[in-house]
């Protein structure tokens, strides 16, 4: 009996949800009283359509993006069909009259060659084909013609020609933005390369000097340290792959700490807490090592006391939480903010900022560095990395 009641209740709930959803949908489209004059409403509708078509185009001019974009854009024209082409193929065709593909493509090639839009008549033997005339407008990015927008309909009108040109210009702007996104990614790549090259000349110099001090007294230790140094630099200068595993990143940190210890001996205490299931997680290459370097630097180089650094990696379901903590001098929160914004001076905390930016770029803004610090209170840096990267 309870079962029957449950099923009935579920069905009722479903029906209610359906009705509510339907109503809401109707309201958002149809009932726009109180939202201005008809002209204003038309403007809103146009802007809304444009905002829907923009996200796919931000991925650049691909078949998938084109298919999604033309589906959104066609209502703007009210004509029979709409197509997007890149330099040599028709990427997407929305609406009837697909058999005119070749005619359209020929016109697109002309436009690509000249860089100027035009209209053209379409011969069709099928009596009920709605496509009689077409308009092509070029898509230009940085003065280069990347593709074309084709509008096909029953007849020619100045309004359609104008609309085609305007929409083509709007699509061009979106593609330009996509280009900008790509440039930004490239810039980050360049930055990580710079970071690698920058693995701090100081560190190289200090390590070699420390190793040299062991060469006579403890040649075996010196040899080991040199090997560590070799491994560490090989990892840091490695060229392939933007990602590595947490295991490898930790191994590099271990080598780094071994070299630091050669110089500072017992003054440095390091505690490691690792949940073993997070070790295979993929992390951006060199995303932790700079943080550890920072912690060690704060702890050792600016005080004489014993320095303590804790590195913890914990399992949090779909994410990994990594915490790096030191008991060093800490920092003014304001200064830290400036460093992360990028105006803390030419040399200050480039590693920190770079890691923060890369994390935000790969995983989104909610995965940037979380830093807790104060003058004389040490520093605690928390990173949350998703186990799976979309």
């Amino acid at each position: 009996m309870t079962g029957l009641a449950l099923v009935a209740g579920g069905a009722l709930l479903f029906a209610a949800g359906l009705a509510a959803g339907h109503l809401l949908a109707r309201r958002s489209v149809g009932d726009t009283t109180g939202l201005g004059t008809p002209v204003e409403r038309a403007t809103f509708r146009t802007l809304h359509t444009a905002s829907l078509a923009a996200p796919p185009l931000r991925a650049g001019l691909t078949a998938d993006a084109a298919r999604k974009a033309v589906r959104r854009l066609r209502p703007l024209f009210g004509t029979a069909a709409l197509a997007l082409a890149d330099e040599d193929t028709l990427l997407a065709w929305e609406g009837p009259g697909r058999h005119h593909e070749h005619t359209a493509l020929d016109r697109v090639r002309q436009v690509l060659a000249t860089g100027r839009g035009r209209t053209f008549p379409v011969d069709c033997r099928e009596p009920d084909c709605p496509v009689r005339r077409g308009t092509v407008a070029p898509l230009t990015v940085d003065g280069r013609v990347l593709g074309a927008l084709v509008v096909l309909g029953a007849g020619e009108s100045a309004a359609v020609v104008r609309a085609t040109e305007e929409v083509a210009r709007w699509v061009s702007v979106q593609l330009e933005l996509a280009d900008l996104d790509r440039t930004r990614t490239g810039l980050a790549d360049a930055e990580i390369r710079a970071l690698r090259a920058q693995i701090s000349p100081h560190f190289v110099y200090n390590s070699l000097a420390a190793i040299a001090s062991f060469v006579r007294t403890d040649p075996e230790r010196a040899r080991e340290l040199l090997l560590e140094f070799a491994d560490f630099t090989r990892y840091s200068f490695r060229r392939h792959g933007e990602f590595t595993t947490l295991t490898e990143e930790l191994r590099s940190i271990e080598q780094f700490l071994e070299l630091v210890r050669a110089r500072f001996g017992q003054r440095l205490r390091v505690t490691l807490q690792i949940a073993p299931e997070v070790l295979p997680v993929a992390v951006p290459f060199l995303c932790l090592q700079p943080l550890v370097e920072n912690a060690v630097k704060h702890g050792l180089e600016e005080s004489v006391e014993r320095s303590r650094v804790t590195i913890a990696a914990l399992d949090e379901g779909a994410t990994v939480r990594i915490v790096i903590e030191d008991n060093g001098v800490g920092m003014e929160p304001d200064r830290l903010r400036r460093i992360l914004r990028g105006d803390g001076g030419p040399t200050a905390g480039i590693g920190l900022r770079n890691v923060d930016e890369r994390l935000r770029q790969v995983y989104g803004d909610e995965h940037g560095l979380v830093i807790e610090t104060g003058v004389g209170a040490g520093t605690k840096i928390t990173v949350r990395i998703p186990k799976y990267r979309a």
Partner: protein
């Protein structure tokens, strides 16, 4: 059962879980330990964790109960639960690890490049998770009820609260060690008492031939009927009753029932003399205790179409294992595809070894606890045997050990499932609400099945788990197998297959659990959907994919290469 020992054992199991869960990190203070601390989990440990999470209340309690009640056909349950890993090993384990996906929705998204496919997969994961959590909580209620005397529904809710707190408070910082420990506990909890039980059984005069005959009471036995039952008698029955039988009140009066169907009201106490045959439950949704067919396969003890139901069981369990959300998550801990495959092999051995034990308990339960057949409470067989057969303080202690094992069974599976469901809920279903959001998701993940476990009762634990397997087999098995082995899979095809296969199985399951009672083929088809819903899922996925051939994801070749090529060229070192 001795309540002090039992309660202490259950508390100890819970405490050990929480302590290992919150402290199970590898800690090093010197650089030389660094290497040890940053070593990935070896396959054997990971396999123990997978097994620990996999062996649920259904395995620990349910199988023995089903075998006791319904005979050798039910041996397909342990066989199927184990063989599922064979299929996983052959088709899925290594490629799935190489894909880098942490959950099934991740896999759907990375392989098909579609967020819509991801969303559908998420909804199904949550559905399967809830369906699987329900019997865990029911098993918890049963165990805690027997051990501490608490009302049954309270036990389930109590465990739900414990699991929610542990997961939401981040008390499972290192779940691998917890689950590995739970496996050891479960194995010990069945193995040690089993030795005592077998010895006691051998010491008992004349238990041998009892299996072929209808079950009978071996000594004076008093049975309290919890809910009204109809019993069918084949020969006259003498008993002493206190309560209502066939609408007539008895007050500790002798009772002689003729062959035929009789109704015993809830709350009635019946006392049987030694040698009396155990009355057979008649009809209803409870399991039937086929009288003489117990030791013969396919003899119609359970359903109208035993051959069909056997195949239904085989399809669901063989193909459903790969689609269980909490199993997959553990495979991510393997560093690469090779390790994933090794882990699966070890899991096969560990799980296979464990499953030798529950049937033994089932057989002994039929001989020594036949009253459970009458009350329908067969899931309790494992828990009461030690008290009945060994007795004394030794019996109480062994019983407490088994109670601790049962507690481990539902705790480990329930916490693993809750973690997986909460992860999917917080990532894909709920709107983003910041940090506290995972805790909310955890509450939702456990609250729904906890509520359902209070509302729906009376479904045997192993049966309910079988239904969850059926849904997993008809939705995620096609997605994984085709996604890994067929280039032609498209996002619309996968979505259509998930919806038809999983949706139809889910509907059938829903009707079986909560719908109106049905009989004959309708009931059989709905209760064992896997035979038709798995092919339906595959077929829909293939046909729709072929129809939408132009929508094959652009990155298919790259994705396939990633799934099937070894991570690192052979011989290369880094």
């Amino acid at each position: 059962m001795n309540q002090t020992y039992g309660t202490a054992a259950v508390l100890a199991a819970v405490l050990a879980t929480l302590v290992i869960g919150s402290a199970g990190l590898r800690i090093s203070r010197t650089t030389s330990d660094f290497y040890v601390a940053s070593r990935t989990v070896p396959p054997y440990l990971n396999a123990m964790a997978v097994s620990g999470e996999y062996l649920s209340a259904a395995s620990f309690l349910g199988i023995a109960g089903l075998v006791a009640a319904q005979g050798v056909d039910m041996l397909w349950f342990p066989v199927g639960y184990t063989a599922g890993y064979l299929v996983l090993l052959a088709f899925v384990a290594a490629p799935l690890r190489r894909s880098g996906a942490y959950t099934l929705p991740d896999f759907a998204e990375s392989r098909l490049e579609s967020t819509a496919a991801r969303r559908v997969a998420s909804v199904l994961v949550v559905g399967i998770g809830w369906l699987y959590l329900l019997p865990q909580l029911q098993g918890a209620g049963l165990t805690l009820g027997l051990v501490t005397g608490a009302p049954r529904r309270l036990g389930g809710v109590l465990v739900a609260v414990v699991v929610a707190l542990a997961v939401a408070a981040g008390g499972m910082r290192s779940i691998t060690f917890v689950q590995a420990f739970q496996y050891c506990l479960k194995l010990t909890a069945l193995l040690v008492p089993a030795v005592f039980l077998v010895v006691a059984w051998h010491g008992d005069p004349g238990p041998g031939a009892a299996l072929e005959e209808p079950p009978a009471f071996r000594r004076h036995t008093q049975v309290t009927v919890d809910s009204t039952v109809r019993i069918r008698l084949h020969e006259p029955l003498r008993a002493v009753a206190a309560g209502a039988v066939d609408g007539k009140r008895y007050d500790n009066a002798a009772l002689l029932l003729d062959p035929g169907v009789h109704e015993v009201r809830a709350g009635t106490r019946l006392r049987f003399p030694p040698g009396a045959a155990v009355p057979e439950r008649d009809g209803g949704s409870g399991p039937r205790t086929g009288a003489s067919s117990w030791a013969t396969p396919l003899s119609g003890g359970r359903d109208d179409h035993p051959l069909y139901t056997t195949y239904g069981l085989i399809f669901a369990t063989f193909l459903g294992t790969m689609g269980l959300p909490h199993v997959l998550v553990r495979f991510y801990t393997n560093p690469d595809g090779r390790a994933a495959r090794r882990t699966t092999v070890v899991v096969l051995a560990l799980v296979g070894g464990f499953y030798l034990l529950p049937p033994l308990y089932g057989v002994l339960g039929r001989i020594y606890a036949p009253d459970l057949l009458l009350t329908g409470n067969t899931d309790a067989a494992v828990l009461v045997l030690c008290e009945r057969l060994v007795g004394g303080v030794a019996g109480d202690l062994l019983g407490a050990l088994i109670a601790a094992g049962a507690c481990a069974a539902f705790l480990s599976t329930a916490s693993g499932l809750t973690l997986s469901v909460a992860g999917v809920l917080s990532q894909d279903v709920l709107p983003s609400l910041g940090v506290r959001h995972f805790r909310l998701a955890t509450l939702l993940a456990i609250a729904v099945p906890a509520t359902a476990s209070v509302a729906v009762s009376g479904l045997p634990v192993a049966d309910a788990v079988g239904l969850a397997f059926a849904v997993a087999a008809s939705s995620f098995c096609p997605l994984l197998v085709l996604g890994i082995w067929w280039r032609g899979l498209t996002a619309p095809g996968a979505i259509a297959g998930l919806l038809t296969g999983g949706g139809s199985a889910l509907t059938a399951v829903g009707l079986t659990i909560a719908g109106p009672p049905a009989d004959g083929w309708t009931h059989t088809l709905l209760a064992w959907p896997a035979v038709w819903s798995v092919p339906l899922g595959f077929l829909t996925m293939v046909l729709v994919s072929v129809a939408t051939r132009d929508r094959v994801p652009a990155g298919t070749e790259a994705a396939m290469a990633r799934l099937h090529l070894p991570e690192r060229p052979a011989g290369a070192t880094s």
